[in-house]
């Protein structure tokens, strides 16, 4: 029998000491080898591909027995260079890049970017109310769908398999609404600088009202499964402790900050998009642990439904208003609809630019090829995404392309707190703590 040397299953000497690869069925030989070296502490790699690390996150844990003495995160496995890519595209094309950063909350990425661009352009007050209300409604629906993934995959990582199916069932209803309004389930590029891409189709409002009713009824299923569940409580109460001092020095925001008792939500503190006109509460708990964050996310779902209902009432009053800013030198020109050729060109718009108005043709041409120019300056805009404060730093040099786009992603800061939450605990608590932070690695690595 030839000896087969598995390149991944031998132990090798490296500059950091001996490195062992465990492939299954060889625990005994591993233990005898380690025992021989009298090393008490073992550094374990929960590598980038792992079912429980919530994405391509690498956790490097130094273990003493089952307790963790040091925990570090290795990130960057999803670094896409989105920020540099936007420097080679128009301001409007930047929306399609930026929407793929934090892929569970695409509308939030787009809205933060567009609010920043509009602040640089100085047209924040000129955005029509219908566009603003549409943005708020899509954002709140996105909050629901993002929290559903957070709850479902969080439960999955801890071993509870059914809540994920229930959560994804609700998420599918929200994705149906996204498809109805914007055409796509994810990464929609719906919010554009100046407004939104297109208006609601016929019958959308009644479908939305029906969906809200269904969601409110179905959220109780997940509650019944997990909230009073003694196993869930044992695995999440007292785990992942991070108090207010830790949160503020690490720059952690979102449900993690609200689980310390501080009701800090940018929708109330520094309102944008007309949030000051909506009635909703900010759920907080003061237990600073995984269970508290889980309860906050469940309660935020209900608050989002309240906001959506208020949006629907406003939209019914605002029928017929345009959804793009009036300034023709900025507003995205084409009015989309599925025409006779099935290709999405509105015949009215084509008739106007080809037959009636020379200016409209010129505007369409210049906007689509060159894009609008944004006056030079620097701006920081922040909104409250499901994970915390999503901020965007935009620098413009007066041209048609961004000079620098930097996203302050909430998951980037929140993930820094993993060491603080996990050291001293056990390995299974790491999984619970990371699930409660709910990092989305696309946002962390950008």
């Amino acid at each position: 029998m030839t000896t087969f040397i598995d390149p991944y299953a031998s132990s090798q000497e490296t500059t950091e000491g001996r490195v062992y690869s465990v492939t299954g069925g060889d625990w005994d030989s591993l233990v005898t080898e380690i025992g021989a070296t009298k090393e008490e502490r073992v550094v374990v790699n929960m590598g980038p591909q792992h079912p429980s690390t919530h994405g391509v996150l690498r956790l490097i844990l130094e273990l003493e027995g089952e307790t963790i003495t040091e925990a570090r995160c290795g990130i960057g496995y999803l670094h896409t260079g989105i920020e540099k890519n936007t420097e080679y595209r128009n301001w409007t094309q930047g929306v399609t890049f930026v929407t793929r950063m934090d892929y569970l909350s695409p509308i939030f990425n787009e809205t933060a970017y567009c609010l920043g661009v509009e602040k640089l352009l100085g047209i924040t007050k000129d955005i029509t109310e219908r566009a603003t209300v549409l943005r708020v409604m899509m954002m709140e629906f996105n909050r629901i769908s993002s929290h559903m993934v957070a709850l479902g995959t969080g439960a999955l990582e801890l071993g509870a398999l059914s809540p994920m199916i229930f959560a994804f069932r609700e998420r599918e209803k929200v994705l149906d609404i996204f498809e109805l309004v914007s055409g796509l389930r994810m990464n929609m590029a719906y919010v554009r600088p100046g407004g939104v891409a297109q208006d609601l189709p016929e019958g959308a409002l009644s479908k939305i009202k029906q969906t809200v009713k269904d969601l409110r009824h179905n959220f109780k299923d997940n509650e019944k499964l997990l909230v009073g569940n003694s196993i869930w409580i044992k695995r999440t109460q007292g785990i992942g402790y991070l108090d207010l001092a830790g949160c503020t020095t690490l720059g952690v925001t979102g449900p993690v900050l609200r689980s310390t008792g501080l009701a800090w939500d940018l929708r109330k503190a520094q309102p944008y998009c007309g949030y000051e006109d909506y009635k909703f509460d900010i759920p907080t708990t003061d237990t600073c642990d995984v269970y508290g964050r889980f309860l906050i996310r469940m309660q935020e779902l209900e608050q989002s439904l309240r906001i959506i209902e208020q949006c629907v009432v406003k939209l019914e009053k605002l029928e017929g208003q345009p959804v793009m800013v009036a300034d023709k030198k900025i507003a995205w020109p084409s009015q989309l609809s599925v025409g006779a050729d099935g290709m999405g060109n509105s015949l009215n718009h084509i008739r106007e630019i080809m037959g009636e108005s020379m200016e409209a043709l010129i505007h369409h041409f210049k906007l689509v090829t060159e894009g609008f120019r944004v006056p030079a300056g620097q701006v920081y805009t922040a909104i409250e995404s499901p994970r915390g404060e999503l901020g965007v730093n935009l620098v413009s040099d007066g041209g048609t392309r961004p000079y620098r786009v930097h996203f302050r992603d909430p998951s980037f800061n929140n993930l820094q707190s993993t060491s603080a939450m996990c050291e001293g605990g056990q390995i299974s608590d790491v999984v619970a703590a990371v699930a409660s932070i709910d990092p989305v690695m696309g946002g962390v690595d950008r």
Binding site: P7, Y8, T23, G24, G47, P48, Q49, H50, P51, G55, V56, G76, Y77, L78, H79, T80, G81, I82, K84, N85, T96, F97, R100, Y103, L104, V149, T153, M164, I165, F166, F168, R169, R171, E172, L175, R185, M186, N187, M441, G442, D445
Partner: protein, 188 residues
């Protein structure tokens, strides 16, 4: 399964005639277990395909095996960065043959919209790919279509000497083929 119907009609009932290749193909395609390699947005659509509405369990594929040693199919869902590429290769190598792979999404098939320093321009630079699935992200129904096409491919795979013959033919054809930019297309 392509049965030889003529002979069976003449024999008493209880017989089924087939070939080893067809039988092996049938067994393999109906119990593919995917390995979790969800990276970015496509991973969420892959999870949605495994969830309640677009059910992958009807193909026996709802068990996403965490360990590559137990998996047959690797669905690379999402953009592969240069830092992640060695990890991808390692996981693929750890899978036991027979193994297949689907490049799900535009970023896995060709680098997608991210034509830059950080993203591997197509996962086929790193691993051999059986099915390329375009989309950004592809709908769960598109993923199921890709899986069904893969099932067809697997069901028709040859074994033994036939397999080696096909592999040699495919390689010769690929070496002799014209590069894409010399073919006649709409841009020429």
């Amino acid at each position: 399964m392509g049965l030889n119907m003529g002979l069976e009609e003449k024999l008493p009932s209880g017989f089924l005639l087939t070939t080893v290749e067809k039988l092996a193909g049938y067994m393999r395609k109906n119990s593919l277990w995917p390995a979790t390699f969800g990276l970015a947005c496509c991973a969420i659509e892959m999870m949605a395909a495994g969830a309640g509405r677009y059910d992958l369990a009807r193909f026996g594929m709802e068990v996403f095996r965490a360990s590559p040693r137990q998996a047959d199919l690797m669905i690379v869902a999402g953009r592969v960065s240069n830092k992640m590429a060695p990890v991808l290769r390692q996981i693929y190598d750890q899978m036991a043959a027979p193994k297949w792979s689907i490049a799900m999404g535009a970023c896995a098939s060709s680098g997608g919209m991210f034509n830059n320093y950080a993203i591997v321009q197509g996962v086929d630079h790193v691993i051999p790919v059986d099915i390329y699935l375009p989309g950004c992200p592809p709908r769960p129904e598109m993923l199921m279509d890709a899986i069904l096409k893969l099932h067809e491919q697997i069901g028709n795979e040859k074994l033994g000497a036939n397999r080696e013959k096909i592999i040699r033919e495919v390689e010769a054809a690929a070496l002799a083929a014209k590069p894409t930019h010399q073919l006649k297309g709409l841009l020429a």
